[in-house]
Symmetry: D2
Subunit: 297 residues, 4 copies
């Protein structure tokens, strides 16, 4: 997660003026500086998590009219039209998935879903984009469009909780900073030598209809791991992935003469991530003729 150079500390926020507090945190909740203002009374906050919780309590305790206005102030997903109104944070979040660069077909699909959703519920579809791939957003969009209004209003507030927690973490440092980030790592073990397999090419792809494709291209270090882990310090995006391991090239470097057409060359391991805050450890125990993989942790 990119950390701004000027990360505030919780201590600073606990001691600064009301105006500075609101200025610093007013943007965490979309177009709703009143959330920060209301939370001000709870100072001092012992932890960053407590600060976030206090802000969410204000949101959940607000009158329904105020909540609704707040929810309605969120931008539509993938909307070219709405882009002018995006807050900076929203722009970064949606841009990470390329939601601002949809092709015509995708744009139409989002537009159709957005219209139907807004017509049914009276507010835009809200989802914590940073925990999703485009495919999982579309899947959720369609599923949630079938909900009733109360369920969906609750879902919108829950997603706002997830969105703002991530924003707060990127803004404020301090004890109890809720580092609820996921991690994806791998480990390649050479079963012919009983040692870590060093120098194995590893590539990670997001796969699926609207997938981003290649995410990471690296090699295993002397411990058979990648350095850094494949994904670390940010939520994992719910979606489908493929790891590719250059097993054939690795064993070819260790055998003489190398086989022209080895049984195993690039080994693909295709899996899904369903828990953005989970730790996914996907090791590969390999020989030139076999492998085992699993979800470890």
């Amino acid at each position: 997660m990119a950390t701004p150079a000027t990360l505030l500390t919780l201590a600073q926020l606990n001691e600064c003026s009301a105006a500075d507090f609101t200025a610093a945190l007013g943007g965490i909740f979309e177009h709703a500086p009143w959330v920060a203002e209301a939370a001000l009374a709870g100072r001092p906050f012992p932890t960053v998590a407590a600060l976030h919780q206090a802000m969410m309590v204000e949101v959940r305790a607000a009158w329904r009219e105020k909540q609704l206005a707040f929810v309605r102030s969120h931008p539509e997903l993938g909307s070219k039209i709405a882009r002018a109104g995006l807050t900076d944070a929203s722009q970064v979040e949606q841009g990470g998935l390329g939601l601002d660069r949809l092709n015509e077909q995708e744009f139409v699909r989002f537009q159709t879903l957005n219209s139907a959703y807004r017509k049914k519920f009276g507010f835009p579809f809200i989802i914590c984009v940073r925990r999703h791939t485009r495919d999982s957003i579309l899947a959720r969009f369609e599923r949630r469009s079938g909900h009733d209004a109360d369920t969906e209003f609750a879902a919108a507030l829950d997603e706002i909780g997830l969105i703002t927690r991530l924003r707060l973490v990127a803004t404020v440092d301090g004890p109890g900073r809720p580092l609820t980030t996921g991690q994806l790592s791998t480990h390649v073990l050479d079963q012919t030598s009983g040692r870590p397999a060093a120098g194995v090419a590893v590539a990670l792809y997001e796969i699926g209809v609207s997938a981003r494709g290649l995410l990471v291209m690296t090699r295993t270090n002397d411990d058979g791991r990648t350095d850094p882990p494949l994904i670390v310090g940010e939520p994992l995006r719910i979606g489908r992935y493929e790891l590719q391991f250059g097993v054939g090239a690795y064993f070819a470097r260790r055998s003489a003469p190398p086989c022209a057409l080895p049984f195993l060359d690039v080994v693909p391991v295709r899996f899904a991530i369903a828990e953005p805050e989970g730790h996914y450890y996907v090791p590969l125990l390999a020989t030139p003729w076999s492998y085992t993989t699993c979800r470890g942790s």
Copy 2:
């Protein structure tokens, strides 16, 4: 291997007239009825393998001029122009790989290789097509183009031996019929139940630049195997393959409620076949969270 309805028996060939013998076997060696005629003297043959060996002895014992004429009489690979001159057997063999349906780029590549090869060696490139994929043919073509003339002449005769053995097997039945065919099979074991995994969707693809794509689409039977094996009764084509196992759907049918986004869905196993007459057994030991695969036998 498609067996013609009227497969001859070795007993019939051992007893029939010389004319019938030659008529029956004259087409096994491309445009060279003299091979069958010369082998006639060796009757009776105890086995089909002995008959084939006797014919190859005649080829190898012939004068170089005669051998050369014989080798030269073979068609060029993938040549649209030469197609008029293809024997029926050649047409079937080359058609199986789609060598008669090359796109422009592939056609040009074969033409270039063919011209250079013929210019260097004075005879066309001969390869037992039924043991190869297009990719492996092109790889061999390029490698063999670098050989010297003697090595390559010997290689041409060896390939003719492989080609004619397959043709003989498709023509004559009897003891010692050289069923040197490969086999590719799989077996899916459900490690959560200790039982074969029945009803798992299995697809086999040929992969690579010029690959044929989907070859087999089937399901495992109650024993966790496919019925029949994935490839049986014919040489395996040297090349790269991908097996896909519908592991996610299988476990979803057995769990309540099924997971919306299972860790493993379609499990790909990518491997190469290098021995056309080998037995490749590629089992999958699977759970919803792990699998092991290997080359068994």
Copy 3:
């Protein structure tokens, strides 16, 4: 299963005299020639299974008094005292487990269970010994001692059905001979070569408090299997087992110089058999540094 030299055929039994029929089958049901006599009327039997079923129908249709007398005529398990009264078949069956060679402690345990069981139910504990190890017999003995009388009487008849089916199979050949025999086999795959591991020492032990110890000592053949399978042609005995694979010695023969103290030497695989008529395939996928095993089928 040892097949007597003079296995009768079903055809012979269907056509012979009533006296011969009864003489041949009178011993199948312990001290109860009346079962064979009564079944005689059902001739001709299309299958051996139908013959057995007809005999069991007579048993189950008999008056309770007659059934009880029949059940009571069975010998006590592991009783030195009762041994004089054992039929030949019982002697062979119980001798196979060493029930006629119990040590003092085991003898006392069986005696205590026998007395209590007989006192509670009025008939001896009956179990198809050939489907059990001593440990599983004792476990069943204790569990069944807690049943009520009706449950236990039904259990005794069920066990008699299992016992006599095995006896009939050893006496009569013919269509539908119920070869409901279990099988235990293994398969060693060398994952460093992608080939079957040939010449691996394999030992099978029965383990447990009263276990028989070493059952089989053999080596894998060129296909990595044992020839014959470890147990075949007879019911598997419910119990605990350990397979030992000489993996270290196998890889030492293939590497130069061999490691003085290899990571893996003798690999033990400990497992239980719970289904006497099941097929247990316990393969080992091995490298010098790793292995996978499972229940296959």
Copy 4:
């Protein structure tokens, strides 16, 4: 490794009086305070490793007569007679393996080897006991007895280097403390849930003719690991081991109803440790019907 309460610091040693330095380190080298005295001149030492190296340089640079006297002053292994002369450090080291509690047969074997060795070489057999099991000591003893005198004198000095490094580490703290300790750990992954297997009983045994038997009995924590690792902070003893995992009980707790006789109950994994300073990670990927283990790192 038990750390004495009064571990000296390297800084203290670098600054203290010569007398204190010698008093502190005089016992590191068996009956040879001259080593510490000679090394004194090299102060200050930047690291503990440098201090050890400096002391070994003195040993290796000494006249052969002095070296020989030094080597000869070491106690005999497992000698009841010699025990009176053991330094405290030697007593602890040899006691850890039970070399002071040998049975008659073992005592005789050590005595015989000791006599023959001393007769051949003129000094006692020296080995860093803390890196060995009794079985590996006996194996080395027999192998080394066959060496020539020069090889064996060099081996004795090398072993003294290993012994004194461990003693120094237990005496002096500071930068570059050579923590060349091995580690043995495990990790149990439940392949039916894709989660670490928590609460699995794990036992570690040393196995072999003269083995110490049970070393550790513990359970896996929520991460599927043992806390602490099975062996940590001291050299691993070269020898054979067996890990036992209570896989059956673990899965029985998670299934309803539990199977009376599960296919897998206690899973044994037998392996050898050949590198005392190595990291051995022996994970178990398990289902109720299968498992994979390997040497990881």
